[in-house]
């Protein structure tokens, strides 16, 4: 956007502002990222690879992948269902429903984890019942998954809802009138229209699922090799003064973030839209 002459600032001022913004962001955002990689590589590649080969680190990586592999599909299906009913129909309470879907974004991660401890922990509402049947939720995989699903709950729904609202329902109605069934309509008409946004929402959901710290920290119990995800493993290494290893694992997660950002930019270009990430 080039403003007309009356609203144009002198070139030195404009460039000064741009350079200032660039400097501030570099110092504030890029430098921390650079610090992670520098610290990780300080003692050479050998230390980095050793940090990954450690059995506890391997277990943490496996657990992180497993938790994401369960949470992301759950939230994808829920997110598509929510976007479908919010975007394609009118019904009383729709605004309330939309607000409730966004709710997990405004809740502290620690509180997101805590609610499941309040339900399923040793002193939780269902704690004694679960204990008598020898079912572990908190301090085990189910708790990690529940906390992760809670935290990543809105991602897919909130990427899809504005797009599907904009697209309306004429195409789907036409398909249905021509005799297509519900699943057929969704697969052949809706899905092609939303595929890039859906992929972008899934990617963001996945990045958050793999990187979540506060919520899983509360429900994990920090059992080495068993209930530590990668972010929790980082904390343990750091607290044990194994800085090189901590930064090595952190670098892996930072790479995931960078890949997600690049993919998101590409997808935005493909779909011609941009969404806000959280």
């Amino acid at each position: 956007m080039t403003p007309g002459p009356a609203a144009r600032d002198p070139a030195p001022l404009r460039w000064g502002v741009a350079i200032l913004a660039f400097l501030l962001l570099t110092v504030f955002l890029a430098l921390p990222l650079a610090a992670v990689f520098t610290e990780a590589l300080r003692r050479g590649w050998g230390t980095v690879l050793d940090a990954y080969a450690d059995p506890d680190a391997m277990a943490a990586i496996r657990l992180t992948l497993l938790v994401a592999a369960i949470s992301v599909p759950v939230n994808t299906i829920g997110g598509i269902a929510a976007a479908w009913c919010v975007a394609k129909y009118d019904f009383p309470g729709k605004r309330l429903l939309t607000a409730l879907i966004e709710l997990p974004f405004s809740v502290s991660p620690v509180i997101s984890g805590m609610v499941f401890v309040l339900l399923f922990g040793a002193q939780g509402w269902f704690g004694p019942w679960l204990q008598s049947r020898d079912i572990q939720i908190v301090f085990a995989l189910p708790g990690l998954v529940l906390a992760t699903v809670f935290v990543t709950f809105p991602f897919v729904a909130r990427t899809l809802i504005p797009l599907m609202q904009e697209q309306g329902r004429a195409e789907e109605e036409a398909a249905a009138t021509l005799g297509a069934g519900g699943w057929q309509t969704f697969r052949l008409v809706t899905l092609p229209n939303i595929k890039w946004a859906l992929l972008s929402g899934v990617l963001l959901c996945n990045a958050r699922a793999m990187g979540e710290f506060g919520a899983v920290s509360v429900v994990s119990g920090h059992i080495r090799g068993e209930t530590n995800t990668m972010p929790l493993h980082i904390e343990i290494l750091y607290n044990e003064y194994q800085f090189a290893a901590a930064f090595a694992v952190a670098a892996l997660l930072a790479l995931l973030a960078l890949v997600t950002l690049v993919a998101k930019t590409v997808l935005e270009r493909l779909s011609g839209r941009r969404e806000m990430v959280h």
């Binding site: 609203a7 570099t26 921390p32 610090a35 129909y89 009383p92 879907i101 401890v117 930072a254």
Partner: protein, 277 residues
């Protein structure tokens, strides 16, 4: 629409999708959050008040809300500056700058916390020169503020940016044509138009900062009464199996946050008519 749908909607799937949504929402979000709303009262009203008036809890709440407020405020001019550059200028590297803004959203909080600590530690790239001039960031309340600013910045940029883009430059040009100075045009034409978006960005950054845990606890040093944030106290209470006490702190945090956001919404509603008229 509603009655028409009840008779025969050509588009199937309303019942199914609403059912799935409600089940998903209730099981994952509503039932768990209701536990948070109900558990503190096991202590009785006086017990909740006692749990919250503990000196350490009060200090932690003050730190969490105080730094969140300051960091969200500090993010406004920075966010405005970055949004301005992204919307109004074309230069090589603009796309990189644009992508960089989302970094705090994408970076896992534990990684951000570790990175900021490494950067601002007394021997870090920024910590060392700052130490020379007598400023300590890591392991102080100032570090809490810095981490909160880091996670909140994208909210400030991303809420102002689209409004600034839609605003265009016509209004400024008109103001200039009518004899307004450049500063006058910016302060009296552009800034008021951006005010609601700035408030939204402030609210989002504030809400995020209040609850922030991962990126703060590494740099904070977590000294009781000094640099200990409220979410950390919740974690400690839970580890001590004081569920009701933990829930009380959590509920207080949520209540204050929602009140703050509500207040912000009211201010925005009050700003709106005067601006467009």
């Amino acid at each position: 629409m509603t009655t028409a749908r009840a008779h025969r909607d050509p588009l199937p799937g309303f019942g199914l999708s609403l059912g799935v949504t409600l089940a998903w929402l209730s099981l994952i979000v509503l039932v768990p959050l209701s536990a948070l709303a109900l558990r503190p009262w096991e202590l009785g009203v006086s017990g909740v008040i006692r749990a919250l008036s503990d000196a350490r809890v009060l200090a932690a709440l003050r730190l969490s809300f105080g730094s969140a407020l300051l960091s969200a405020l500090a993010n406004l001019p920075l966010g405005l500056l970055v949004a301005w550059v992204l919307v109004r200028m074309r230069f090589p590297g603009r796309r990189l700058l644009d992508a960089m803004v989302d970094l705090p959203f994408a970076l896992p909080t534990a990684v951000a916390g570790l990175a900021l600590t490494a950067l601002f530690a007394p021997n870090g790239w920024l910590g060392a020169p700052l130490k020379e001039i007598g400023v300590a960031v890591a392991y102080t309340p100032f570090g809490v503020f810095v981490a909160m600013m880091f996670v909140g910045l994208p909210f400030a940029v991303r809420t102002v940016e689209p409004v600034l883009r839609d605003l265009g430059t016509e209004a400024e040009e008109a103001a200039a044509t009518l004899g307004a100075g450049r500063a006058q045009a910016l302060v009296r034409v552009v800034l008021p138009a951006l005010a609601p978006a700035l408030l939204t960005g402030f609210g989002l950054a504030f809400a995020r900062a209040v609850g922030e845990y991962g990126s703060v606890i590494f740099i904070a040093g977590n000294r009781p009464m000094v640099s200990e944030i409220a979410p950390l106290l919740i974690v400690q209470r839970l580890e001590a199996f004081d569920y009701a006490g933990a829930a009380a702190i959590g509920l207080a945090m949520l209540a204050v946050s929602f009140l703050a956001l509500l207040l912000l919404g009211l201010v925005q509603a009050w700003l709106r008519p005067g601006r467009r008229g």
